[in-house]
Amino acid sequence: MSDTGIHVRYAIYGTVFGFILSRAGFTSWDEIHKMFVFSDLRLFITFMMATGMAMMVFMIVNKRLGHPPVRKVTKDTIIGSLLFGLGWVVTGACPGAALVMPARASSLRSSRSPASCSG
């Protein structure tokens, strides 16, 4: 497969995923906050149902398709997740949402991409 084909396919995945994250509300600080304080469970349910649906499909197909490589749980997994959770509260943005957000207030958040590569 040519390089152009890969670019076109990933452009489609990215556009679709970005559009969906935005429509779901994962790019809104307020919606994310409402999820964390349980005042609105819509995003929680969305996330869990998306994972659940994917889980069912993976259970069926992965016997044949296999798995991606998986890292073991380390101290870094825990510490990193703690830091990530903390940052998520403040910015309301996880890495995916931060990419989708520049349409809103958040060109600021790209400030963390240097961190994500040097980290």
């Binding site: 509300g25 490589p69 998986v70 997994t77 903390l86 940052g87 590569c117 980290g119």
Partner: protein, 170 residues
Amino acid sequence: MDWLLKEYWPWWLAALGMGLVTVGLWIIERRPLGVSGSFTRAVSRTPPADPPPVLFPIVQKPPLPRTVHLTFMVAMALGGFLSMMAATGGEVHTTWKMGPTFAKLIGDGVTFPALLVGGVLVGIGARMAGGCTSGHGLSGCSRMTPNSLVSTMTFFGTAIVVSLILAGVR
């Protein structure tokens, strides 16, 4: 049709879409979805070393060209832009305001430094943890891989506890 473009989607539709992207990417490309991984691989000359396999059978593909990760990330921004255009009927809205709840809990005066510090935390944290909400959350939890389950519970748990404390104190 208006609700589809102008309001937040109901859980079932958004979940269906996110689930389809997660499994679709795997079935078509045999690569797991993971946005923070794209960040890392787009800029890093030394991509994360291959982890020791935990689950079998393993699918290990050669790394994507760096530019493909860039394409993916730009496309995600484009998707967000299209979503905004659809919602506003073609108008571009930009704002630095984070909303009244942010102003109350974090403070409007510190928007810039707060986002900077928070952004660095998200970046370093996701890199250390080896994934974010898409890679560990959607992609890893649906495969029930131990480190993704641990990571997702930890970052969700942290976020919930800190948010509840913030909301309680302020």
